[in-house]
Symmetry: C2
Subunit: 344 residues, 2 copies
């Protein structure tokens, strides 16, 4: 082969697009939906659809063991996968977990990791049904696959939203990003002078927990069921609200307007962002790793969850594709851009 | 935590046992079988059971890019997973593939890897339905999850064999191991003197192909169907015949006798083993990575495949658990031990 194209010059998103195009159409009648949503959808002939999603986490890329307790890491590896099932309006069933580790880990360390995995299995009521433990020449690698089920008439994709739908988000945003920035700051201080003790005040624990041990919003899936609401589209907030909203709009061929004053941001996130000299709005829009659910509902459904404590309406969809706008209180509109571009 | 137990002191098998015990019983009614067989078994309420298996391959542990073409590696990563579905007497349906790679890989190299993945998807008629491509700080990591289906009355576990069952194996054994030894030998020669050209004669290509681009025996699953045979137990030969036979015997609480003169060994494997100063019988028993199927059938079924070209009867099961014997032509019996112990 004569040409060599550097991965950096292409970028991760373009590479994935190129691979996906190469695989084209699926051929098995059981495959309802392949690549392109939070989880794949399989029709096994049973009453519900089966959902399948997978995520691989690598040391030094997705987590830093300098400040990540192994128990939290095990929990998080499961939770981020369960979150993909919730994003399809589904209930998780089972997971497989493959772990690669080097001999710098002790048996006790490995057991801590699995304790976290077990805690997540109990929290989300999923069975561990497979996977393996193998050696690694370098860092820790955790690969989790999750299954779930969803009634056929309740499945929620990314590409089925419609103009005028109300955009809602669960919980609050930007906390996980601020938590990460605090942890990174303390790590740099420690590296510069190992005699320094970490200095994160206790009242910042909320943002640290959001980063280190996020929750998947399966509770919302059950609540939407109780309220009789099937969202018109849904996605989980892993890369940041901006990036996820763009996914829904692009795939559904709609535009959007969201209001900055409506973005749910916790007080601790405000304080941490201010301390870090970050705009709380930027943290909420582009921070990522909150694992909240972003979804859209028909306007006539809005009454049902208008005063819901953990669901916030933040805007609405429009019939102007590519116009994805952030509106300020002062009446200014700016185009929202995704900051999720990753380099190799 | 005050104690530190080294992983080496415990070993991989003991660690996995310890983890599995910690997870204990499964709780979802959909989970028919969790950890402990080639694939997990899920009852989705459809006519068939759904099968799920996963495998993670790491550079420097499971493959060496010094002599592994990326296209073959992509194919192999899928084939070894499909093999786990075949071992349950199932038909593969879909795969997810997660790949982590560093920027020392070019876009062309990544495309080669995915070409091999695609070739395997076509060979085994499976859909690629998910996964992702992410960056790695060190080596290449490939994690594949495969789904499959099997009719409820045809599922084949490891723990359901009975005394007097005939032990059969597909294809031939030991080739993949001899291929690996040849490749390793040439690598050492090259490292010692980079001006030396590799010297593997062309008539050894069979054992190289068996190592670099193994096949999953889905063909046998279809043939057993046509013959009207449901094996009493089945497992794929990934760690070596000895290790797999011990799994069937231990889990089914039987003993076994196999005959060394019956072990199917290809002529090229004999030649390569002789060249490498390895006993061909040892290669067949302990080599691993052949991805053939080892299965047992009721004695009365034996007539149906007595003269089958790609299935060889190698012995029978006994009612003496823990007595797993290799019989020589001279009438000597030796206890078979697994060599599959791996250190961290």
């Amino acid at each position: 082969m004569n040409t060599r194209t550097e991965l950096d010059s292409l970028g991760e998103i373009a590479l994935i697009d190129r691979i996906n195009r190469a695989f084209g159409q699926t051929s098995q009648p059981e495959t309802v939906r392949g690549i392109g949503d939070d989880a794949a959808v399989i029709d096994t002939g049973g009453p519900d659809y089966l959902l399948l999603s997978t995520d691989m986490l690598l040391e030094g890329v997705h987590f830093d063991l300098a400040y990540t307790p192994l128990k939290h890491l095990g929990f998080k590896a499961v939770a981020v996968n369960v979150s993909d099932i919730a994003a399809m309006n589904g209930i998780p069933l089972q997971i497989t977990v493959s772990v690669a580790l080097s001999n710098r880990f002790s048996v006790e360390a490995v057991e801590e990791l699995y304790e976290g995995i077990k805690a997540a299995c109990e929290a989300y009521q999923v069975d561990l049904i497979g996977g393996d433990t193998t050696s690694s020449r370098s860092g820790l690698v955790i690969s989790v696959t999750v299954t779930g089920r969803v009634e056929r008439d309740k499945i929620t994709y990314r590409n089925t939203a419609q103009p005028n739908d109300v955009i809602c988000v669960t919980g609050d945003l930007g906390a996980a990003f601020c938590g990460l920035q605090l942890l990174e700051r303390e790590k740099q201080v420690f590296l510069a002078d190992p005699t320094m003790q970490p200095e994160i005040s206790e009242d910042r624990s909320y943002v640290l927990e959001r980063q280190l041990r996020p929750s998947a919003r399966t509770d919302i899936v059950y609540e939407l069921r109780d309220l009789g609401i099937v969202p018109t589209a849904m996605i989980d907030v892993s890369d940041g609200l901006a990036s996820e909203l763009i996914h829904i709009c692009t795939q559904s061929k709609t535009g959007a307007v969201i209001f900055d004053e409506n973005l749910p941001i916790d007080d601790v996130t405000y304080l941490a962002a201010t301390e870090l000299n970050i705009s709380p709005i930027t943290a909420a829009l582009n921070g990522g790793e909150d694992y909240e659910l972003l979804f859209t509902i028909r306007p006539q459904e809005f009454e049902k969850l208008k005063n819901h404590a953990r669901i916030t309406p933040i805007g609405y969809l429009t019939d102007k594709p590519e116009s994805i706008l952030l509106a300020t209180k002062a009446g200014q509109y700016t185009q929202i851009k995704a900051q999720g571009w990753k380099h190799f």
